[in-house]
Symmetry: C2
Subunit: 370 residues, 2 copies
C-alpha cells in the first residue's frame, strides 16, 4: 500500500508543518511527502506562492493550487492521490476531523499516526540546538533585566516594593522582560512573574505590586522570531530576607535540580528521574497532595522537550518510560508549591549528548536579592 | 438523540475553546456543553484546576480530572457520556482525528460540525466590539510611531533612508511599532513593513533598508494580551515624492475602500462587494492576473471578520454569498500589487450596525510623508 504523509494546516502554530516546510505561513495549506524518501511538496494559494518559493526548505517543491484543480481541499487531495497513484494518506494525530471524514466519504483512505508525526523533530541537530541556545540567551537577557529592577527596588514600611517612587508590579517586570526579548529577536505568548502566594499556582501569570520577603517566581519562555525555536527558564528570587521555610525549599529544589541534571543521559528513563526527584523532595519534608486550598507540593512533570514547540517530546514525568536519547533538549524544572507561602521553581535546559548532558543554561541560580 | 458539544484543545490558539471557557490555558483540556442550554463545564488537570476556578467564564463549571477517572481522555469522555446519558458528541471541524477515531472505536459517536462551532462568535456584543476597538487603538499607536520615524528620517543621495545616521530598516520600524503595542497591552505574531517591490507580495514581512520615493506597506495586527481580541490596520506611505503610478494606485485604492465601506450593511452580499471593488480597480487600469514574475493586481479577499481570531467569519471575498448581519466586525482592505513597483494596501475595520456600518478605525490615510 502506498501512503503519502499529509498535513493540512498553517505553519505559525503547527510545528509539524513548520518543520516540514521550513517557513511560517498564517493560512492553511497542503504538505505531502511520498513514501520511501520520495518527493516532498507544498501546494500554495496565489497569495502565498511567491513567498513560499523564496522561503521553503531546500528539497520541498512548491506547486500552485491551480496545479491540482483548486476547487476545494478534498478535490485537490483527490488529484494528488491520482497523480502519484496513492492508496491513501497518513496524517498527524491532530488532523482536522471534518476534512478526514470528507476524504473518507469521498473514498480516500486516511490514517492518523498515533505517535510523533516527525520522530526526527525530537532529536536536534547542532544547528537546531544553536537556535535553541540563541532563544535561551534572549530568555536570560530578560531574566537579567528582572534581576536588575528587583535589585534597584526599594522596600516600603509595609514590605511593598517601589521603583523610582512607583509600585513595582508583576506587569511592570513583565513589560521590561519582554522588551529585552524583543531587543534579542524573540517574543513571548505569556510570561510568568508571580509574587507571594500567586506563585503557588504554577501557571498563574501574576499581577499587582510585588513584596519583599516572599518568593517571586519568574518563568520566561519566548520564541525566536526568525527560526521559531523556544527558550525556557525559571528562577525564583526574594527581595531582602527570605523566611526560613522559603530558604529550605529553595535549597532543596536547587539540589533536586542538580541531582536530576546528573541523571540526564542516553538510556536514562524519564519516569525514574521524575520519581527520584519527587522522592527526594518528599524526604526533605516537601510532601505532595491535595488540601482544602487545592494542590500542594510537586504536582507537575519534572521537564519537557523544547524545540519548535515549547512543550514537545520527550516528557519527563511519572508516565514516560521511553529512555532518553542523544539530541534531545529537555527542561529540568522541579518545584514545590504551598498555598500558605507560595512556590519555588528552578528551571534549566539540557542537551542530551552521547554520554550525558550539556547544560545550556548559563545564568546563575540564587535566592535573595539585597 | 442527545449530543453534547465537545472541544478538546488548549485555549491560547483555539479561539472556539477560549470563547467557550473564557480564559487562556496553554495545555489541552476538555470542554463540554449539554444540549438545550444545559450545563457547560471544563475538566482540568491538578496543575490548572485552581486557576481555572478563578478565571473561567461565569456559568462554566470546573471539574478536576479525578472526577471522571483521569486515566486518559477517551476514558474521561466515556464517563462524561455515561454520567449525562449522552448518545455522542458534536465537535468542531478541526477536532483531532486520532482522538475521534479512538472514541469511535470505543463506541462513542462523534460528529464534526461543518460550519462555525459557535455561530454567536461572529456577532460581537458591544463589550466585544469595545475590546476590538481597544486592540485597534493599540494598533494605531504603533502606526503613529512608524509615521513619526519615517517623518524624522533623512533621504540619502542614493534615495536610502537613515535615522540618526543609521539605516532606517524594516526591522527597526517593526521593533518600534511592536514596542508601542507592548506599551498598550498588545502583542503581534508578525508585523509587515515591506518597502518597494517587497510590498508586491502581500504576506512578505519585509526586511532591509527602506528607500524614499517607493511605497512602504505597513500591515499591523496585534492581539490584546488581556482579552485575546485583535486589531488590524494597513497603511501605505511614501517618504518624499511618490511616482505618478503610485499616486494613481493610492487614489484608486483609497476610493475603492471608501466605496466598499459604504456598501457594508446588513443584507449586503460580501461577494458582491468584493467583485464590485475588483471591477472598480480594473476599470481604473489596475488589472489582475499572473505574469512571469507571479501574481499581480488585486488577488486577495477584500476583507475578513476579526475577533478572537485575526481571520474569522465572515470572509469578504468572491465566494461568500451569505449576507452580512449586524454585530459583525470586518476589515475592508483593497490592494493592488505589481512586481515592477510594489504594492498599495489600505485597511480599515468596520462594525456592522442595524442599518449600515460604523468605521472603527480613526487614524488618517495619506500617501506622502515629507
Amino acid at each position: 500500500m502506498k501512503y503519502a504523509k499529509l498535513i493540512v494546516d498553517e505553519s505559525e502554530h503547527n510545528s509539524d508543518m513548520r518543520y516540514a516546510c521550513g517557513f511560517a505561513a498564517p493560512d492553511e495549506f497542503i504538505f505531502f511527502e511520498l513514501p520511501n524518501g520520495g518527493e516532498r511538496a507544498i501546494v500554495m494559494s496565489v497569495l502565498e506562492f511567491d513567498r513560499a518559493k523564496a522561503e521553503a526548505k531546500p528539497g520541498v517543491n512548491v506547486y500552485p493550487e491551480a496545479q491540482f484543480g483548486a476547487s476545494g481541499t478534498i478535490d485537490e487531495l483527490f488529484r494528488i492521490a491520482a497523480k502519484y497513484s496513492l492508496d491513501g494518506f497518513s496524517v498527524p494525530a491532530g488532523f482536522p476531523l471534518l476534512l478526514a471524514d470528507g476524504m473518507r466519504t469521498a473514498g480516500l483512505s486516511v490514517i492518523a499516526e498515533p505517535g510523533e508525526f516527525w520522530p526526527g523533530r525530537q532529536f536536534k541537530s547542532r544547528a537546531e540546538a544553536d537556535e535553541i541556545v540563541k532563544a535561551l540567551r534572549a530568555t536570560e537577557q530578560g531574566m537579567r533585566r528582572a534581576f536588575e529592577l528587583i535589585a534597584a527596588a526599594e522596600i516600603g514600611a509595609d514590605n511593598t516594593l517601589t521603583l523610582d517612587g512607583a509600585p513595582l508590579t508583576s506587569e511592570l517586570l513583565r513589560s521590561a522582560i519582554e522588551l529585552e526579548f524583543m531587543k534579542n529577536g524573540a517574543a513571548a505568548d505569556s510570561t510568568i512573574v508571580a509574587g507571594g502566594v500567586q506563585g503557588a499556582r504554577p501557571h498563574c501569570e501574576g499581577s499587582g505590586q510585588l513584596c519583599a520577603g516572599t518568593p517571586i517566581v519568574m518563568d520566561l519562555f519566548p520564541r525566536l522570531r526568525s527560526s521559531g525555536y523556544w527558550g525556557d527558564l525559571t528562577r525564583t528570587v526574594v527581595k531582602g530576607q527570605a523566611p526560613d521555610i522559603v530558604k529550605k525549599a529553595f535549597d532543596t529544589v536547587f539540589e533536586a535540580r542538580e541531582n536530576a541534571k546528573k541523571m540526564m543521559r542516553p538510556g536514562a528513563v524519564p519516569a525514574d528521574i521524575h520519581n527520584g526527584c519527587a522522592d527526594f523532595l518528599a524526604a526533605a519534608g516537601f510532601h505532595t497532595g491535595n488540601g482544602k486550598n487545592g494542590a500542594f507540593g510537586f504536582f507537575h512533570g519534572l521537564g519537557h522537550g523544547v524545540g519548535l514547540d515549547i512543550h514537545e517530546a520527550p516528557r519527563v514525568n511519572s508516565r514516560n518510560r521511553s529512555a532518553l536519547r542523544g539530541g534531545e533538549v529537555v527542561t529540568v524544572e522541579p518545584g514545590v508549591y504551598y498555598p500558605e507561602w507560595g512556590g519555588i521553581r528552578l528551571e534549566d535546559m539540557v542537551y542530551i549528548t552521547g554520554s550525558g548532558c550539556e547544560c545550556l543554561t548559563t545564568i546563575d541560580t540564587f535566592l535573595e536579592i539585597k
